[in-house]
């Protein structure tokens, strides 16, 4: 059965339509990367999956039932920012979810139970390369270090669904690659379902099993808020890495995306092709060439 079903979903803020007519099905264990123009509603979509934004029209189903309208432990998140607790050290931040689980009353562990939790947390902290900063507070960390901490905090619980909002934006390529490995290995091991927003198209292609492009197909210059964004492309990706494809779950059959209307203003892919030199184009050609070039 599909894990998540999106049926004719709309999201409006007052007069402004942000998202319109989304229809998708996502199976357990898929890794969906989301790209799209700034301000087109990607974060909003993630918030709906999280349960903190309400659905304006349509349905959002988890396991066939309406998605709970509040966040819960089965859905982890890494926000664009504000994602860690300023009053806890690195270790405290990562241990938090373990403590919450084991100690319903105080939310704190002591003695042996604490030792165990600490050990688990330390492993995860080492995995994100913060071993040196174990006892520092977030304000003592650089932006990239905070982001890694947020990641560690979310990953230690192995949530069924992991929502990532530009998690690697502030990381340098070296550490970013480490993080990619970490997320991928946990994803494979625990059959997580991941939704990840990124602005790095390469990352989108490289990490995901499926790449969604959010964009406005309809645009009325007189009333720029009248139409919302849709998922204009849903591409099977990940072929660059054979081993990923091998292990990724069978993908629901999807329609071939329609040819690209070449008049709409901020065409993401147009920009990519015009401005970024060879690399992206190379990938674009080889991976999704079938689609629309």
């Amino acid at each position: 059965m599909a894990l998540i079903e999106i049926r004719n979903l709309w999201k409006e803020y007052g007069q402004q339509v942000v998202l319109e007519q989304l229809n998708k099905t996502v199976g357990e264990g898929e890794f969906i990367t989301i790209v799209g123009a700034s301000g087109c509603g990607k974060t909003t979509f993630l918030k709906m999956l999280l349960g903190t934004e309400s659905v304006s029209r349509g349905q959002l189903l988890l396991d066939g039932k309406p998605l709970p309208g509040e966040p819960g432990p089965e859905r982890g998140i890494v926000f664009q920012r504000y994602s860690v607790f300023p009053h806890l050290s690195v270790l405290g931040n990562v241990m938090l979810s373990l403590e919450l689980e084991k100690s319903p009353l105080l939310g704190r562990l002591f003695g042996g139970a604490r030792k165990t939790a600490e050990k688990l947390a330390k492993e995860m902290i080492d995995a994100v390369g913060l071993g040196q900063a174990m006892h520092k507070y977030p304000h003592e960390l650089s932006g990239g270090m905070q982001q890694r901490l947020a990641l560690a905090q979310s990953l230690i619980k192995r949530p069924r669904i992991l929502l990532l909002d530009e998690p690697f934006g502030a990381l340098d390529p070296g550490i970013r690659a480490d993080m990619h490995q970490l997320v991928l290995s946990l994803w494979q091991e625990h059959k997580l379902t991941v939704f990840m927003i990124t602005h790095d198209i390469k990352e989108g292609f490289y990490l995901g099993t499926r790449l969604w492009v959010f964009d406005k197909c309809r645009f009325d210059p007189q009333a720029p808020n009248a139409y919302g964004a849709q998922i204009t492309y849903d591409l099977p990706v990940g072929q660059t890495d054979g081993h990923l494809l091998k292990k990724s779950p069978p993908r629901a059959a999807e329609k071939v995306p329609p040819p690209l209307p070449d008049k709409y203003r901020r065409n993401l892919w147009n920009q990519v092709f015009t401005n970024i030199p060879c690399p992206a184009r190379v990938i674009g050609l080889c991976v999704c060439g079938v689609g629309f070039v």
Binding site: P71, F79, S97, P104
Partner: protein, 276 residues
């Protein structure tokens, strides 16, 4: 030449500058006092420093004729005891109700307007009713402090709890926290330093209510003494008492600040506190 906004005095300069206005005040007082004493050498309003010395000697270092106690210390002890009880109780109330109000909409809806209303009632105007409820003993004095500052503290804590980014509450839920756990592990520790800051801000008000309470019915205490000797305009006692009260409050303020800095370093690193 740097812009004014970027020029920061050094350690010594800051000390000297900090002491300056106090010295100025002292000089001003001396001048005014001398002028008045020149006119009437027994003037009671602005006594000379030697009168202060005499009064201090009498209050602090000579046992009282009637009771044999050292009045200043006795007064200080009872006032500080009442003050700390009142402050502690208020802070506790603020912590509990403020956090609950901030966290739980169904608590906030009934309590927030009510507490706002209570905070706006001038307690001095309803003393008779307070007497019925709390009597006229020690409890009444402590309760007047509580009634005076707790609503303010509660409102402040509630406000601060609401200012904690929603992202943190959401995050905690994704980490498996229920409402209670969010309160004890996310809100409570982050509110504590803010509560300390509010308590510091309300120290002045707390003293005010303590003194008012001691003026209503008491047999000792700093406020009692001030109101008693006011009956014969003994400014030579009142002013040292006021300075003493201010000093005690200053010390309390200092101690609270140090505690906050020691226990919540992350909080003070976040806000650029050049608090003095």
């Amino acid at each position: 030449m740097k812009k004014l906004i970027n020029r920061v005095p050094g350690r010594t300069a800051r000390w000297i500058l900090g002491v300056l206005p106090f010295v100025l005040c002292l000089v001003l007082y001396l001048a005014a006092s001398n002028a008045r004493l020149a006119e009437n050498e027994n003037d009671k309003l602005l006594p000379s420093f030697s009168s202060f010395a005499g009064a201090i000697e009498r209050m602090a270092f000579t046992p009282d004729k009637r009771s044999g106690n050292y009045l200043l210390w006795q007064d200080t002890a009872s006032s500080l005891w009442r003050l700390s009880l009142g402050l502690g109780l208020s802070a506790l109330l603020a912590l509990v109700i403020g956090i609950l109000n901030g966290a739980i909409p169904y608590m906030r809806a009934p309590l927030s307007p009510f507490i706002t209303a209570i905070s706006l009632i001038p307690p001095m105007a309803i003393l008779p009713i307070l007497f019925i409820v709390f009597g006229l003993g020690e409890l009444a004095k402590v309760m007047l402090i509580v009634i005076g500052i707790a609503p303010f503290l509660i409102r402040d804590v509630q406000q601060r709890a609401l200012e904690i980014p929603a992202e943190q509450l959401i995050k905690a839920q994704t980490l498996g926290a229920n409402t209670w756990q969010i309160i004890v592990r996310v809100l409570f520790p982050q509110i504590m330093p803010r509560l300390l800051a509010s308590v510091r801000l309300s120290l002045g008000a707390a003293w005010l209510f303590l003194i008012a309470a001691e003026a209503i019915a008491a047999t000792e205490g700093l406020g009692y003494r001030i109101f008693l000797v006011r009956r014969y305009l003994a400014m030579d006692v009142i002013l040292p008492y006021v300075v003493w009260i201010t000093l005690l409050a200053f010390l309390l303020d200092y101690v609270l600040r140090k505690i906050s800095r020691m226990c919540y370093p992350w909080f003070h690193a976040q806000i650029q506190t050049a608090e003095n």
